[in-house]
């Protein structure tokens, strides 16, 4: 049940999503990945990708144009 961070602040699309995909492969079931982004496009395509993979997703707005996406690797 470990938690991992992925800092994608300042990265333009599609880099946050590509990095998230890669990172999620490394994680074990039950782990959580926190993706930090400040690019509004990633706010849409990262959760969309995660939901399609049936992961639990939660988005938190942590500042102006800054978000943390919590992805639980459920399966």
């Amino acid at each position: 049940m470990a938690e991992f961070e992925l800092d994608c602040l300042g990265e333009a699309c599609p880099i946050p999503l590509v990095k998230t995909e890669k990172k999620m492969q490394e994680l074990d079931v039950g782990d959580t990945l926190i993706v930090m982004i400040d690019h509004s496009c990633a706010l849409k395509n990262v959760p969309e990708w995660a939901r399609k993979n049936n992961y639990d997703v939660e988005v938190e707005e942590v500042g102006e144009s800054e978000w943390e996406i919590f992805i639980d690797k459920t399966a």
């Binding site: 300042g10 333009a12 590509v18 400040d38 690019h39 500042g63 102006e64 144009s65 800054e66």
Partner: protein, 178 residues
């Protein structure tokens, strides 16, 4: 009641709209454009003229270039930013996006992160600039408006831009990602 928790505020200004909503709304304003101006939406048309205005401001001369020697080219050079419709529309796109960002309380200036981004912006910008000029437009003028106006050029543009995007993706992964 706090604005940020108001349900209409959240739907209209805060939560992202779906892509399909975007497709429908963009189509509506494309129709507004063709009905009121006899043309469709384009973005890159004025860019070369902006370059010419800057050069002229420093005493340079471009009116002997083929591109600016045509009737429409000469007319464009004679206009100013505020009397050039397409330039005003481009400014509108920037301000419209800023407006949406502020109303969602999401504005923050995002600095360039590293040299890789500088390289990508410079190289990518030059390629887009040159490409859009010789192909008569960008994703909007050549592709979206071209195809919607039932022009074969729009489909040819789409096909080869897709090929370019394929090469660009390879380059991005190879040279511009850590």
């Amino acid at each position: 009641m706090k604005l940020s928790s108001n349900k209409y505020y959240q739907t209209w200004f805060k939560n992202p709209w779906t892509y399909v909503t975007g497709a429908i709304l963009l189509s509506i304003f494309q129709l507004v454009t063709i009905a009121t101006t006899d043309g469709a939406w384009g973005v890159t048309g004025p860019f070369a003229v902006w370059g010419a205005w800057v050069v002229q401001a420093f005493g340079g001369s471009v009116d002997h270039w083929y591109f600016f020697s045509t009737e429409s080219g000469r007319a464009a050079l004679d206009r100013t930013f505020l009397t050039d419709p397409a330039s005003v529309r481009n400014l509108g796109v920037i301000i419209g996006a800023l407006l949406a960002t502020l109303l969602a309380s999401q504005f923050k200036f995002k600095k360039i992160k590293n040299l890789r981004q500088v390289g990508a912006a410079v190289f990518g910008g030059l390629l887009m600039g040159y490409g859009s000029r010789i192909a008569f437009g960008c994703n909007i003028g050549a592709l979206y408006s071209g195809i919607s106006n039932l022009s074969v050029s729009g489909w040819v543009f789409a096909l080869f831009m897709f090929a370019g995007a394929f090469v660009g993706s390879k380059l991005l992964v190879k040279y511009f990602m850590q």
